[in-house]
């Protein structure tokens, strides 16, 4: 396992924090806690049988979600998400969309997708969250279309598409990056490299060191950074956004991170050691960001705890909301196939 | 060479004929063209002629026998000739439906050993069947029409019959609509499948068929034969079974099939009834309609129904409803049907009133002016065909009624007098038909006896 090659230097961190501001920074911390609380609760509810199907938890990847979304303008810019994207959904909504998210997990009518999508397909089209995808790399070609649409309409919107290390080996990945590159589309290709596709480690699946190296194949910028550093994510995405808005085309970003949980609920994780997991857990991105804020004098320990507690409470409220929400009416089963 | 004499076909739809009498006997000399027997069909008598000079022999059917057309009934032999190999009388073939001339051409030249009937030959030719391949079940192994048809049907059937009818959905629907049994219809489709056209043709054939009874399924697959020798009789007039005719047909069939009809006949001495009617009519003012015998009979019937209430009931599903009112229906013949207007409460009306109603209802029945309520609620029906010269007949009950009275003509007949001397009396034969589900024999007998008493002593009704 390789060390992340780029993390934010202290001076840069200071500058970034100044740019972000105390209020937003605290908000970011709260959103990270919200994501963590949400994922833990989802795991618990699944074990209790209150959520069915499967789910792909992103515990440990909160920094990547929050850092990126705060460098973008949700509701204006576009998000194409992947199946391990609960964090991105929550971050995109600034933590204010827990209820419809939880309701969708429970398949209720009040969920984002009226119970038709489930955890893998959550979308909030109104806020330009164009949906999570159950197909690895499924959103990558769609991003081309979104970028093309932005370009034809001549706005300064940007599209970020999330995918994992495994998706970078799909054929569609290459077609899409190529097409985005020839037309200079305003797309951020954001690869969350959490070291494993399902059970296949990146060492075994790639003949190159860094996924971002593939950028040169398409003549675009590529950059790898520590995905568990909120500010590093924020920084990398901000730069990519600038490039996109300046008409300089797409960027391939690689956020090095780690998922604490197995691929899905049915993963017994025979492909990695407990020690490895524990080593990454010791580098929990949430306390890491909290400490940074405290070091910068933007937060106290008590406030850190209060933010955490508030986040967990918010989740409890959302669960109650979702549980009390109605099931979809079978009489409407054919709805939504055709416009 | 023995010459066959076959039962000739005279009519287009004629299927069989009854031998009325042999005019010549076994062994008689006959001349070509000489009538040798008389036969009848559909109330038409025809003569059968000897086809050749010779000796009449081998008579196979006695007088009174009903023989299918084209069957051999006898032979004309020459001196010293013997009859062809004797064989048991062949089962009558299914009746044919196409035009066959009175004296069909016969050509034994290309037949099998025993030959084939002319009809069989014609069908075989039309179907492209090699006669020598067909097993004959006729006299001496002769191939009959039935044999050829069986052969053709067998050729068409690819698999052994499994008892199920092969028919297209359209054919099934048509059969449902026409009320026909699919199993009785020959199919012209592949492997004998019944097509819609087959069903429609069967329905048409049934509507146009002569009253002569059909022995088997109405043949629709039999092809038209080659040009007959005699001039063809032309096309049948097709009358679709619809409207009143259809209604009568359905109701008559239903009644006849569902109610066990039992008939009771007796002769009524109408001497006093005739006298009474005369008396009554003398008292009717000029210009008013006279009381008919039917009116008197209806009055008597109404009175008898009061004495025997069970005969005045309805059978509806599982219940016998003994009706409180006596409403006597009177069958009136129409041009192409019949209708039964009702004289309500006939037991309570005087004869004059009944007489007027009879005249009025009959007139309006014939001119189609009856109102619906005038043909409703009848509890018993009287049908009088005396004016047509009928001596006696039986009628079909009009459901849900349980009885009907068929009245014949009044005619003078000789009956034994006091000293067994012949005395001429005006007698009228009435036939009561009752539904044995409701009325037993004794009851029926009592009713009709009551009626007879009323008619033979009209004054007794006053009591």
């Amino acid at each position: 396992m390789t060390e992340a090659i780029t993390t934010v230097k202290p001076e840069r961190a200071e500058a970034l924090l100044a740019e972000i501001g105390q209020e937003r920074a605290r908000e970011m911390l709260e959103v990270m806690w919200t994501i963590r609380a949400f994922e833990e609760k989802a795991k618990e509810l699944y074990a209790l049988g209150k959520i069915h199907g499967t789910m792909h938890l992103s515990i440990g990847q909160e920094a990547s979600a929050v850092g990126t979304s705060y460098a973008l303008r949700p509701g204006y810019d576009y998000l194409l998400n992947h199946h391990r994207g609960h964090g991105h959904v929550i971050a995109w909504g600034r933590g204010n969309n827990i209820k419809p998210t939880m309701a969708e997990f429970m398949g209720k009518q009040t969920g984002f997708c009226r119970g038709r999508g489930g955890s893998m397909h959550i979308a909030d089209v109104e806020s330009n969250n164009l949906g999570a995808n159950g197909i690895v790399g499924g959103g990558i070609p769609i991003a081309v279309g979104v970028g093309l649409s932005i370009k034809l309409r001549r706005t300064d919107q940007v599209c970020i598409v999330m995918f994992g290390d495994g998706a970078a080996n799909e054929g569609a990945f290459h077609e899409s990056l190529n097409m985005a590159s020839i037309w200079d589309l305003p797309i951020i290709y954001y690869c969350e490299n959490n070291q494993y596709a399902m059970s296949m480690s990146v060492e075994r699946a790639f003949n190159i060191e860094r996924i971002s190296q593939r950028a040169c194949a398409y003549g675009i910028e590529g950059f790898t950074f520590d995905g568990n550093d909120v500010l590093a994510a924020y920084d990398a995405v901000s730069r990519a956004v600038e490039r996109a808005r300046a008409g300089e085309g797409p960027t391939l970003l690689e956020a090095v991170t780690y998922r604490w949980e197995g691929h899905s609920k049915s993963d017994r994780q025979a492909y990695r050691t407990r020690e490895e997991v524990k080593a990454w857990q010791a580098k929990d991105p949430i306390p890491r960001f909290g400490e940074r804020l405290m070091q910068a004098g933007l937060l106290t320990q008590d406030e850190f705890n209060a933010v955490r507690d508030a986040a967990y409470q918010k989740i409890e409220d959302a669960v109650a909301y979702a549980e009390n929400s109605p099931e979809p009416d079978v009489a409407n089963i054919m709805d939504g196939v055709y416009a | 060479m023995a010459k066959e004499i076959i039962m000739p076909k005279f009519g287009f739809t004629q299927e069989e004929s009854t031998i009325v009498a042999w005019l010549k006997q076994e062994g008689d000399r006959v001349e070509k063209g000489e009538p040798i027997a008389e036969c009848t069909t559909d109330k038409v008598n025809m003569e059968i002629e000897a086809p050749e000079d010779g000796i009449l022999g081998g008579i196979r059917y006695p007088a009174g026998a009903t023989v299918p057309v084209t069957e051999i009934i006898a032979y004309v032999l020459q001196e010293g000739e013997t009859l062809p190999e004797a064989s048991a009388a062949a089962a009558p073939a299914a009746p044919a439906a196409e035009a066959v001339p009175a004296a069909p051409p016969r050509d034994d030249a290309d037949a099998g050993e025993a030959g084939a009937t002319p009809l069989a030959r014609r069908i075989a030719e039309a179907e492209g069947v090699d006669l020598s391949a067909v097993v004959g079940t006729g006299a001496g192994g002769k191939v009959t029409r039935e044999d050829v048809e069986r052969y053709v049907a067998a050729m068409r059937t690819a698999e052994p019959a499994d008892g199920k009818v092969r028919a297209t959905p359209a054919a099934r629907r048509a059969a449902r609509e026409q009320g026909l049994d699919l199993a009785a219809i020959a199919g012209s489709g592949p492997r004998g499948r019944v097509q819609e056209a087959d069903v429609l043709a069967a329905a048409e054939a049934q509507a146009a068929a002569a009253p002569a009874p059909v022995a088997g399924p109405v043949p629709t697959s039999a092809p038209q034969p080659a040009v007959p020798v005699a001039a063809p009789v032309g096309e049948p007039q097709v009358i679709p079974l619809e409207g009143m005719r259809r209604t009568i047909a359905q109701r008559m069939q239903q009644s006849y099939q569902q109610a066990p009809h039992v008939s009771f006949t007796l002769d009524v001495d109408m001497t006093k009834a005739i006298a009474f009617r005369e008396y009554a009519n003398q008292r009717i003012p000029e210009g008013q309609p006279r009381i008919s015998m039917t009116a008197l009979i209806i009055k008597a019937v109404a009175w008898a129904l009061r004495q025997h209430p069970m005969v005045n009931s309805y059978l509806i599903r599982d219940e016998i409803l003994v009706m409180p009112d006596v409403n006597v229906g009177m069958a009136v013949a129409l041009e192409d049907g019949l209708i039964v207007p009702v004289i309500r409460n006939a037991d309570r009306k005087g004869l004059v009133q009944i007489g007027q109603e009879v005249v009025d209802l009959s007139r309006r029945a014939r001119s189609g002016e009856l109102r619906p309520e005038e043909v409703a609620d009848g509890t018993f029906t009287v049908s009088n065909l005396g004016m047509f010269g009928i001596d006696r007949f039986t009628a079909i009950i009009n459901p849900p009624q349980v009885g009907i009275l068929a009245v014949g003509r009044i005619a003078k007949r000789f009956v034994p007098g006091e000293n067994d001397e012949p005395v001429a009396k005006p007698l009228m034969t009435v036939t009561l038909v009752t539904d044995h589900r409701v009325i037993d024999g004794a009851q029926s007998a009592q009713f009709v006896a009551t009626l007879r008493d009323a008619l033979e002593e009209p004054a007794s009704i006053l009591l």
Binding site: V125, A143, E175 | P169
Partner: protein
């Protein structure tokens, strides 16, 4: 053939009619643009988009690399975000490389998102055999798409229908798979200049008749009409029914026709097994038309083989006019 004879009519080829539809739609609506392989400078592999780049420029008539998955994805993404793209797949055979995007994304996004997303685009592609292009350039895969709820499938059989159906497809808010037949590109018909639309999911009675219903798609409609003229000389009048939109299907006119004639022959070029004819046959058998069937429902389809290269073999692989005539005769004569 739908040749018209009056001098006042305006005849366009099928390809020209499609081009006109694209042009008029793009003139009317900025959101409409065309992308695909060789559609720009080259004018399209079958010349359909010839000249359009001169009028609209390379932004809106956009050549793409050979990337069918990305082409489909581009259509989806653009449609999701307010555009109304027309994508072109150069040969229907290549749409197999777009299948994930079309089946798992385009068809399902709206439904999966609770009805809250709209994906309006048209993906055009030429299909069919008869040009000697052999097995990988002659496919008829329409039934694959019929089988995916969320997609609409349209197959125009003549130039007039092609323009009207394409304009309607562009207006439609759903992803529409628009399948053109290579051998139809040069056929002509009267095509009005104005922007007329033929509604999707509206079956057309291309020819009225009484003796037999022939349901046909795409090129087979033309062949059925030719067969109809031959059969009419013998007094056999067939009714030719063209669904035009295969899914969602307007099936009621088919049932009415079968009720009228009692016999039906379904003709399509695609392979018989698992083909669209099975869908039509099952619907007829389950409808009120069942009671009016006087013969088995018959299908006349492509053979269950890949399209062969040899011209004679290719000819005998798909239904030709004489095959339709022969089958029709057999059905009408009651031989089935």
């Amino acid at each position: 053939m739908l040749e018209t004879t009056t001098t006042a009519t305006r005849e366009l080829t099928y390809a020209e009619a499609i081009r006109e539809a694209i042009r008029q739609a793009m003139e009317q609506d900025e959101r409409v643009f065309l992308l695909g392989e060789d559609v720009g400078v080259y004018g399209g592999a079958f010349g359909v988009s010839a000249g359009l780049i001169d009028q609209f420029g390379e932004e809106r008539i956009r050549d793409t690399p050979i990337s069918e998955a990305a082409i489909a994805g581009a259509c989806i993404g653009a449609a999701l975000t307010g555009m109304r793209p027309i994508g072109e797949i150069q040969f229907m055979d290549f749409v197999t490389l777009s299948m994930e995007q079309l089946v798992l994304q385009a068809a399902k996004l709206r439904f999966m998102f609770g009805g809250k997303a709209t994906v309006p685009f048209v993906l055009r592609m030429p299909g069919g055999a008869g040009t000697g292009a052999a097995a990988q350039h002659s496919e008829s895969l329409e039934n694959w798409f019929v089988h995916v709820p969320g997609l609409k499938v349209v197959m125009p059989s003549n130039a007039y229908d092609a323009k009207g159906l394409l304009l309607a497809a562009i207006d439609d808010d759903n992803p529409v798979i628009f399948i053109e037949h290579k051998l139809l590109y040069k056929t002509k018909a009267h095509v009005p200049e104005e922007m007329y639309r033929i509604p999707l999911s509206q079956t057309n009675i291309a020819r009225q008749g009484t003796d037999l219903t022939v349901v046909a798609t795409s090129l087979m409609v033309q062949r059925a009409l030719q067969a109809a003229d031959i059969l009419a000389e013998d007094g056999i009048e067939i009714e030719v029914v063209d669904p035009r939109t295969l899914n969602p299907l307007d099936d009621q006119p088919i049932f009415e026709s079968v009720k009228k004639t009692g016999k039906v022959l379904i003709v399509h070029e695609a392979v018989g097994t698992g083909g669209y004819g099975g869908e039509i046959a099952a619907r007829i058998a389950a409808s009120e038309a069942f009671d009016y069937l006087d013969a088995p429902i018959r299908r006349l389809t492509g053979l269950d083989i890949p399209i062969p290269y040899n011209r004679t073999l290719e000819y005998h692989t798909v239904p030709q006019v004489e095959n339709i005539v022969a089958e029709a005769r057999k059905l009408v004569k009651g031989e089935y």
